[in-house]
Symmetry: C2
Subunit: 187 residues, 2 copies
């Protein structure tokens, strides 16, 4: 891809290849189909072109299995530059602008974080997330109060569901930090 940043789908594929290598397109597709992870389309029309773009960018390398497997399939592995691209994306600091766009991308980043960057970075990520959420939520609450008089009840409640979901993520982040501290020994 000529684009400088990876799309969310490309990023998800890069992380999945890292965690599951060697793996083939069909297997990655099944992850989208069968697990709740990511809300990506499981259609081959999105995943195979995305893998081809990652391969053109030399972030993954695919080889057609000729001998061992029963069927012809192309197995992918990360290249060194693919790994460093993944690390760069995971290391990006959380900013306020990440929050209004929703948590799914941040959750995806966190899912890959331990296997790529290790536990210490996970805890730093969670602390940073908690800090940004704690700063963001009051502004949402304020906005909610201001517009409550103007809007219908359903519109207010819809907005409240958004605020509440951020509050839940904050509580989750704090619990998650504790979980890392409790189980520091394993892994």
């Amino acid at each position: 891809m000529s684009r400088s940043t990876l799309s969310l789908l490309e990023f998800a594929l890069l992380g999945l290849v890292h965690d599951h290598q060697p793996c083939c397109g069909y297997g990655l597709r099944k992850i989208f189909t069968e697990t709740p992870m990511g809300r990506f389309s499981d259609s081959p029309g999105s995943i195979y072109p995305a893998l081809a773009r990652l391969e053109r960018a030399r972030l993954i390398r695919g080889r057609v299995e000729n001998s061992t497997a029963v069927r012809r399939r192309k197995v992918f592995r990360l290249t060194p530059s693919g790994r460093s691209e993944l690390s760069r994306r995971l290391e990006r600091p959380i900013t306020q602008s990440d929050l209004p766009r929703g948590m799914p991308e941040l959750a995806l980043r966190f899912a890959f974080m331990e296997s790529v960057l290790g536990r210490a970075e996970c805890v730093r990520f969670l602390q940073s997330l908690a800090k940004e959420l704690a700063a963001y939520i009051p502004s949402l609450r304020h906005h909610l109060e201001v517009e409550q008089t103007t809007n219908s009840l359903s519109a207010s409640l819809a907005m409240e569901s958004g605020v509440m979901s951020y509050e839940c993520y904050l509580a989750w982040a704090r619990r998650a930090i504790r979980r890392f501290r409790q189980t520091r020994s394993s892994s």
Copy 2:
């Protein structure tokens, strides 16, 4: 648009025009920029073409204000078929396939629901949502338990954040039903 269903952006604009009419493109843009509602791009390159598509489809009608206003601006109103299209979209029953894609679209539908369909429909929507969530969450919990042994802690926690967010929405939906019952008199 030749496409049969409206994109999320087009649907959002249709609902916003309904609630704010008469309104112009710039005002709609500001809603995306200044309020946390929707995570849509506030760039003119997305919103003006989308409004043009809605107008071509005869769902909204725009008129250039020539006299009263200080500046030239195009104000939009819903057409009857725009209103019925909006109703159809809002009335669509919730299915299991709506949930893995995430709540944002459902929240958006709910936000417009009271002003278009009335309170009774809002309560039905919430009851249906609660029912679907209650059926969906155990399958997520089960998936989480199965994969917990395989995955890293951060991957498990990321998945758990997703499950937890659905649980929060379920609690929200039940509270919201009570709120409608309590304040039935007003509006």
